[in-house]
């Protein structure tokens, strides 16, 4: 983010809420007690709007303003947190007194004056116009075009539900060590669900797609982008009208490029978050330097990709985002850290301290997590399997960090017979064990793709936008949960 923008965010909070630097330092001083190591303030102002279409019309729209401040005191692994949706000097002082309650004594260190900018001199997602300021009429018109286009593609389409959500979030982080950072985060998203029905009414299926990122509404409304999205949703819904029940059991699985990278997010990423590893409750605890994946497998988390949904200029503690190598050529080499866990583990901060809003404590979270491309053509990877399944698109997934077991569900999958794509399948669920699933990788395609910008990760009740990516990948001996034994 440019220094001009940074000072404008700081100016924004000063102007709207009368928060001069003296008030900030005073709040930090109140928070800092003798047994408090660190204190910080997190200010947020978010505007968001959404329009939703169904049955061919936009029936409703909504618009929201959310603002507030969170005050945190940290003493070793203990954290005190108080937040308020009123941003005033009084509420700040009140919250500061509450946050320091984790410490028994008062008085001691004083806050450094907030001057040092932790923010890097870059903006990964500059926009000419905040997406929330594009007119609601344009958003309504876009959904109308999407609806007509979807219905024009296939007469079996019976329902189209589409939504357009835009968000503009301004945040400011002030720390007792002198940290002063800010970020301006635009976010847009189109979601589409199409229901197709056989002409005789005997079967209905659904196709869902989405796209988005940190860019403006003009970019989102470009027809080449959304037409592809609509085409995919209609294709999946109509394809699934002919889909067969999925086989069950252990088999070879080929994952298509892009969104199937959710495998990395569930199976690997969560288990490498610093908090679980500091507490030693992750199946990956204490395994740095060990082989956890086949040769050739390199996995990174990168918060610095321009305009991506999972990207951030700085994390929600003011640490600049970065590219962190988690697995290099099969060897586990890094964790994702926020400030507290990095400091307690004596490891570097990685810019992964994120939170849903001012009402939440930061935690180590992923940004954009993906596997680097290999050498093989995707066609060769597919041809290499005699019997198995090919999974291209997924719904959601979940992991048990402690046992390492993960699961995720395909919404577009095919049987593979003798190296060729066979019938489409419904209800394919993949399950596996995080610490060993990547040792089952036998072929890596050259076609790395990132997802279209739809990922949301939930942890401990907090949701944050994330991205994933994957090249075409062959895994052997994965358990597929279908109904056909």
């Amino acid at each position: 983010m440019s220094s001009r923008d940074r000072s404008s965010v700081i100016g924004f909070f000063n102007e709207h809420f009368g928060l001069e630097e003296r008030a900030l330092t005073a709040a930090l001083d109140t928070t800092l007690a003798r047994q408090v190591d660190y204190a910080d303030l997190f200010f947020e102002h978010t505007s968001e709007d959404a329009v939703v279409l169904e049955e061919g019309i936009v029936k409703s729209g909504d618009r929201h303003i959310e603002q507030g401040v969170g005050v945190r005191a940290v003493a070793r692994e203990r954290q005190g947190y108080a937040h308020s949706d009123e941003i005033t000097v009084e509420s700040l002082q009140g919250a500061a007194q509450t946050a320091r309650a984790i410490s028994q004594e008062s008085g001691g260190v004083r806050a450094l004056s907030a001057t040092s900018g932790g923010s890097p001199d870059r903006d990964l997602y500059p926009v000419e116009q905040p997406p929330t300021e594009a007119s609601v009429e344009r958003k309504v018109a876009l959904l109308g075009e999407i609806d007509s286009y979807a219905r024009s593609l296939d007469s079996r389409v019976t329902q189209v539900m589409a939504s357009c959500v835009t968000q503009y979030r301004q945040v400011m982080m002030v720390g007792s060590d002198g940290t002063l950072a800010s970020d301006v985060r635009p976010l847009v998203r189109l979601n589409l669900q199409v229901i197709a029905e056989k002409p005789d009414g005997s079967r209905r299926e659904v196709g869902s797609q989405g796209m988005g990122g940190r860019y403006d509404f003009d970019t989102l409304s470009q027809p080449e982008g959304w037409k592809k999205l609509v085409g995919e949703a209609v294709r999946i819904a109509t394809l699934n009208l002919e889909a067969q029940p999925c086989p069950a059991g252990s088999m070879s699985v080929i994952l298509g490029p892009g969104w199937p990278g959710i495998l990395l997010h569930e199976a690997i990423g969560h288990g490498l978050e610093g908090d679980f590893n500091r507490k030693k409750t992750s199946a990956f605890s204490g395994r740095l330097g060990e082989r956890v994946a086949s040769e050739g497998v390199t996995v990174v988390d990168d918060g610095t990709l321009p305009a991506r949904r999972g990207s951030i200029n700085v994390d929600d503690e003011g640490t600049p985002s970065q590219r962190t190598v988690l697995i290099e050529d099969g060897i586990l080499c890094g964790y994702l850290q926020d400030r507290l866990n990095a400091d307690l583990m004596g490891m570097p901060r990685t810019g992964n301290g994120r939170r849903e809003s001012y009402a939440h404590l930061p935690m180590p979270r992923m940004t954009n997590t993906f596997m680097l491309a290999g050498q093989e053509s995707p066609e060769d990877v597919l041809r290499s399997v005699d019997q198995g399944i090919y999974a291209v698109s997924f719904g959601g997934g979940q992991v048990d960090i402690t046992s390492g077991k993960f699961v995720f569900s395909a919404n577009e999958a095919y049987r593979i017979e003798n190296g060729r794509l066979g019938a489409p399948l419904v209800g394919a669920t993949l399950i596996g064990n995080g610490p060993d699933v990547l040792t089952r990788v036998s072929r890596i395609g050259s076609d790395l793709e990132l997802d279209p910008g739809v990922g949301t990760c939930g942890k401990d009740g907090q949701s944050v936008p994330v991205g994933v990516g994957l090249p075409t990948l062959r895994l052997d001996g994965l358990t597929v949960g279908g109904t056909q034994g």
Partner: protein, 456 residues
Amino acid sequence: MTALSGREVVAHALDAARLAGADAADAVLIEGDSTEVRVRGDAIDFVKQARGRTLGIRSLLAGKEGRSSAIASTSDLAAEAVERMARESVAVARATAPDPAAGLPEGGFAEDWEKLDLGLAHPEDRGVHVESRIQDAMDAESAARRMDDRIDNSEGSQASSGHSRITYGNSLGFLGGYESDSHSLFSEPVAHDDAGMQRDYWMTLGHSLAELENPAEVGRRAAERCLRRLGARPIPTCEVPVIFDPVTAPSLLRQLAGCVSGYAVYRKSSFLSESLGEPIASPLLTAVDDARRPGGLGSRPFDGEGQVTRRNVILEEGQLQSWLLDTYSARKLGLASTGNAIRSAGSPPSVGPSNLWFEPGKASLEEIISETPRGLLVTELIGMGFNPVTGDYSRGAAGLWIEGGEIQHPVEEITIAANFGDMLRDVDAVGSDLLWLGRVASPSLRVSRMTVAGAG
């Protein structure tokens, strides 16, 4: 800080919407404060105190072909901010399409809400000290660790206490509010042995502290569930009866609730959308939604549109008796609201269960297990493998393998799959152990046949 009461804020919002040009409006104000603590081992992990208020205003504009509507919400309750948001809601509403089914309810507003005592508010517990809740979490944590040497770690034990106030009003003259207190305690220990590491949890929740289970009991039950998972392994793919315990069975009822929601029905995005009045489930299954269950976690004197709440039988001995409806979805289907509108400040009304449960049967879980020659008891489900349009169901599971009517060993890294419609029909045992761990509750259920997939 505003000096206005919740009802004054809502009344002001309705006036502001009218002044901004709305022909009809409603507004909801949600106010809450809470304290949350987490302890790991004998140390505090965090103490968190929160307070928040959000106001949502829905403006409706009348036209020849119906009403158009939009919502604006804000946490800034200053008079001018409320007026600005009211204008925003009208401006957005002008851009949306008229809809004949949109609009406020025509009648049916709750009249008895003021004298009704559903056991939601417990002012006597509002002064509870944070130290006392920290102690509860510590007691749960230490009880879990005392159970067994193999419990040597945890994700922590968490206690929370909160108080909220909901105020709803509309331009037809309804203006009501109610308060609700909530307290909970949750414990998640980690056990480990040579075979690996396992976690599990137990929890208790209620509107008053007196309704909570003893903290030591919470820790002990969490530890028990966790310990019995040690040594879990996959099993080979097979087709067997599957028993859901009262922790996992409510997920089936939540799925059913989604499939009988009026919105899924009129959109035909539910596999049950043409099945009203038909037998869709085993005669052993009766499902009831009752927003006036005393002390219920989902109880409310009126719903998100001010409608009187009531008891609705959704499923009676396997026959589908009623959808869950708000005003909009009811109009779309030519029916009347069932009082199941739920409302957040920032969204239009939608449909959700209040207190929803499967009526218990006679057998204990132990008896059901002993009558299962070979099968699986599911104690945890992960993943989102359910498609309400088709009923396709396939989820990750962990549990206990049953052979000869007895539990043999823990199982993990498996999936269970079937069609949800078949699962409902194939329920052949219902336990007596109905347990409230949320708004949706179920006793143990046995499904006579599912595909269990594993690598074993």
